[in-house]
Symmetry: C2
Subunit: 482 residues, 2 copies
Amino acid sequence: MKKVTEFKSLIGTDGGLSVELTPFLQKELQEPLYSQLYHWIKKEIEEGRLLPGMKMPSIRQLKTHLKVSRNTIEAAYQQLQSEGYLESVPKSGIWVAEIEKPLLHTKEVEYLNLPECKSSSNVVVDFEYGNVDLHKFPLKQWKKCLSDAMDWENNWLYEYSEKQGEFKLRREISNHLLESRGVRCSPDQILITSGTQTSVSLICRLLELQEKIVAMEEPGYSGVRSVFIDQGCYIEPVPLEKDGVSIVHIQSSAAKAVYVTPSHQFPFGMVLPISKRLRLLKWAYETGGYIIEDDYDGEFRYRGQPIPSLKSLDEEEKVIYLGTFSKSFLPSVRLSYIVLPPSLIPHYSRKFADYNQSVSPIIQRAIALFMQSGEFERHIRRMRKLYQRKHQALLKSIEQNMGTKVKIIGEKSGLHILLKLKDGSNIELIEKGLQNGVKVYSPLKFWLNPNSEGYSYIMLGFGGLSIEEIERGIQLLADCLP
Amino acid sequence: MKKVTEFKSLIGTDGGLSVELTPFLQKELQEPLYSQLYHWIKKEIEEGRLLPGMKMPSIRQLKTHLKVSRNTIEAAYQQLQSEGYLESVPKSGIWVAEIEKPLLHTKEVEYLNLPECKSSSNVVVDFEYGNVDLHKFPLKQWKKCLSDAMDWENNWLYEYSEKQGEFKLRREISNHLLESRGVRCSPDQILITSGTQTSVSLICRLLELQEKIVAMEEPGYSGVRSVFIDQGCYIEPVPLEKDGVSIVHIQSSAAKAVYVTPSHQFPFGMVLPISKRLRLLKWAYETGGYIIEDDYDGEFRYRGQPIPSLKSLDEEEKVIYLGTFSKSFLPSVRLSYIVLPPSLIPHYSRKFADYNQSVSPIIQRAIALFMQSGEFERHIRRMRKLYQRKHQALLKSIEQNMGTKVKIIGEKSGLHILLKLKDGSNIELIEKGLQNGVKVYSPLKFWLNPNSEGYSYIMLGFGGLSIEEIERGIQLLADCLP
């Protein structure tokens, strides 16, 4: 049992540390206290909750802890020692003894030996969406920021964060949005959240969208759709046209809010043209509806002119902008943000007065330092070039290996593409791919109402793969095409 | 303008870094592109979004970025230079020039000079609840864990966390709960969340409590009550008896779930006796209702026998246990957890399949390391002693300075106490206290239906104060009593 040794080192051998016991002793019972304690400890050992190699508290420690007499504990310990449950080691203390296996309820300790690693398989290249590049990441600088954040006047460590998030971070985000996305907002409009799903959940409650209709691209981001549904919204799926979401459809709906990904439709990748953006804004101004703009990877655009965000065109405070650090920085910081129109701030402040901020200020301050040093902008520029090279390699490799058997969808930006298959269904290709060592994904779950169309696409995320892996993966996949 | 200099250093003078522009240029318009670009940059400067001292992109950079000709950019830049908006510095680049103040819309840049510090006042001692001690905190060890966590095989950094939270952390929590709170659970039953409010919000959706009755102690923790209300639950306030929540009241209610703080009622501090715990469990078993046990500061108990948690007595999987690191470790890690009964796990897995984990795995892994090293248990023992000393000093100081003018409520554990005032209302005392340099709080918000009783208490948190501050604070407060 590997676990035993680990435990031993966990509790230490310095004599000061030992397992803490919380038996429930009742003075009013007929059974003497020592006997109650004896039975309790015996059961803990038999059922595998106290494990061989764990150190028991000293008699003195337990006396203070349980407020019972020394005699009570001595009597219980002696009985347990004589029965072989405990072992007294001179100058060391009292330990739980190794006992015969059959005594242990294996069911209860089973988990201790659970493997931690992910299921191993013969997958060589995994086109999973959502991962980012790890080779060019400025790990040293980021570690320094984390460490420096802890040194930054310490009192905040012992307190909760500001409700909207740390001011230092909100100020940096406000600067970044202006410079890179054309969004002008003050730090007071920014709310830090622990992910886009948290952002959307908050917006549902802020706009009181329960039992209201929310329009969403079909297909669209299922992670957000689940939040709307769980928050009691009715989803109006809006079909996509070649240039993005159908504005006519939104106009004819009774939606109170619309969730869109105009800079890079998820998962199809098209960019909403200016004419449609203006019509969408007009819809919002006329109906009083809100537009929730999710700009999840707006930083990574490889062809054509940069497109200003919907938010930067909004003149009547009807766009709520969502951003995230998952793509531009690291998914593992779990950090996103909302930009609220100023007119919604008083309502937010009233409605969420009782809510604590949910992102650790340690992470918030480290990122603020990372941005303040200029490292963040440098990182994005570096990553944009790197992803562009990967993206080019991916497209080239697909053209060379797959020719006319597939059509590439959404090829101008972001960290994923779709392939439309000329023949066959994605189920077959995904299965064959797995057998051949390459893992690709079905975008089927992004449809609210999946139809046969959904089976003709596969999705390839490439952020976390090297150019060599991308090329190898496409070759492996090409071999599986009919 | 201090901000300008800051910006200058942010964007660097190495010639490589400059502001990124995202003008929206339309080729189909009659107005030439250079003129569109000129007007756009001019407006950005006039309205204070491009600030004096910011470096403009080079012509070459902007040409690539905007996909327009070199001539277009040169023409726009020359016009702006001739009008004094931009300044060309040989061998350095093109910079936003210092222009006359009246041109700037001061309203839009106002926030840049917002003060960051909290409102200053003459408060000498602040008995705010929720802060923890900062002098005995093992900052060095915690920093090392944060740094070590980053070194721990790096791939996870570039991915999302496991949905329920990092396995390493869940394993440590499971060990900790068994040893210190008598709760036996496998890591598979544990869900990591970004705070108790997030935990409660998740439980509402898991148990589908919308439009259902939830019983809560009256008074009780308002932060959680707000979540229940926002999630569409109806609150049944359950009066407190001397020994905690009225079980008879719960039995006669139609509640589907009850939220309780049995180890240390919040805010009154009483401990629910075993007889009531068993009756509460019986209610759950008979009605099929769930008990949500919030054990927010169960680690800090100063008098009497340690009390096992409700969860440790639960034999029919009807108790959902909530824990947090806010009191036992640091509020700023924003880390809590739920222990679900095994029978709810499959339902959870289905219902939350689309949800990402919201706590950064950086924080999760650092805490796992901190626990694994034994440092966490040592920290709790050290803190328990320290808080006990503070607690004793607080009680003693109150007795000496206030005598029979107040009654101390909930004096056996935790990081706060209530004082019941013999005469006068808390409004008066709080105001007088503020004038005298001591800040104390009204617990009124913890009542769903505030009544005159609520005005006769004040709440004192002492976790973050030194013994000297506590004594000084009580003296200052005593002077304000009628």
